[in-house]
Amino acid sequence: MARPKNIKGKVWVIAGKDGLLVHDIDTDQIFHNSHLAVTDIEKMGQYAFGNLKGWEGFPEKVGKSDIIVVGKNFGCGSSRQQAVDCFRSLGVSAVVAISFGAIYKRNAVNSGLAILAIPSMEVKPPLQSGDEIELDLESGNVTDLTRKVVIQGNSASKVELDIYEAGGLFAYGRTLKT
């Protein structure tokens, strides 16, 4: 059964002490290279944001179906899939960013983690940690249900939606006639 293109969840705004979104969070801050030998997805969650100043305790605080909101160029750096899978491991349902690193974007799509880019989002975002938000992957709309604000993001491409709905690249691959 296809997964829903509408996703609801509680927000974690990854901002600094100044309240501004953090940009260029690289894969070593998301999943440090000292844990690269980990291949078991269940064991990846505990290391999420383990090297991001001020967010080291994130895995203990985040709840199932929560949504992360970050700044520009999220996931730049390494091609490591663990930087995506650590969030899946924790049950995070989506990542919203101003923009994503190219490889990170691919890895998230292939892994079935919902992502949504909002290029127009301000560094001080109109939503706050704890808010309930809803993403519509098809239209790119992000609605802050707590504050009744709608922000327009990028809609997903057909292949991104197809892979997401199938549950990831491998599941999608089995539907192809090649």
Binding site: G77, R80, G101, F170
Partner: protein, 417 residues
Amino acid sequence: MGNTVIEKIIKNHTSDEVAPGKVVWMDLDLRSARDFGGANVVKNFEREYAGSSVGDRSKTFFTFDCVVPAKNVPYANNQQICRDFAEVQGIRVFDVDMGIGTHVLMEQGLVLPGLIVVGTDSHMNILGAVGAFGQGMGDQDIAFAFKTGKVWFEVPETVKVEVNGSYSPPSSAKDLILAVLNVLKTERALGKCIEFYGETIEELPLSGRITVASMATEMGAIAAFIPPGKEVLQFCGERSGKKKLTVMNADEDVSYADELAIDVEDLKPQISLPGRPDNVKPVDELAGTKVTSVFFGSCTNGRFDDFQTAANILKDNRVAAGVMAKAVPATKEVYGEMLKTGVLKILFEAGVIVSNPGCGGCASGQIGMTGAGEIQISTSNRNFAGKQGAGETYLASAATAAATAIKGQITNPLEFV
């Protein structure tokens, strides 16, 4: 309207319509996995395609380069998982003695102009140095590529960067690309390809082209392309045994997403400040900053030319007391050349610790990690917090690193020329 070179390369590998933003399925010429990511690729493959063969074993490789030879059991286990899989599948492994995968694939004559190559290394776009399309991908993409020989790809927009102007040693390709990175930052080329042109680029040797292409990753670019010149074509021809190589050019009426010209006339040595590769300043502004550690190597500056540059400066000099200087050749071939030419001896006598080939400290691998409070100058490509240890890392050229090693403080290499 015409096509960029990148679009032309993609066109040659798909039957889908090729235009920026379109999603295509690309047929791959080569796909590789390494010791980081490799075990996950195998795990994904065995779970999803249990008992079946890889799509084309002659196009599929393992290249071990991060933790070589394995220094801990988890990495040793992961490498052995890859070797066992390779044996069953009949896939070639470039093992822990060979060096950095992207460099090995070029040295082996496997990567040629116009080919599309993917692997688990985010610096696969180094292959743009020989006019190939290289792209790093995650474990699932590569497992899928091992099986099907294809990947989905959103055709990126292309940025044209033209570099003109002449400069003299000790300034080098690294200083050039740091100067370009300082202009592009991580925004102008994010998610796009970069085609490099201009007389300064044309004159770069293969080692300099590798340095330039490797740093495209730090600009957030998908791939880099440098039109192959005479030296590159000769190298590829000799290594592959192919007499005729096809070289593609962009159409004249092509429209780029962004075009910029950068003048590097009289370029001075450049340096990236800790935390961000794109936070670039002239070395002179940082001169005098104390360092405790110096690293020569990585996929960006681990070629023979880089070690020779360092040796020319370190000859008859000593690494300053209290400084740990480390050198890691990119490949076994580079190491062999250092041995034959006496470069290794000069580095040894100057007090540099020389390791076997590989990535160095970039993936918590061999030598090159720093402790809290350490200040390192490195010829590698990334200095994100924690990437090369707990200390702070500056990025610079081999010449700047060598001069800095001698003085124990950040030094403009002009002092030693």
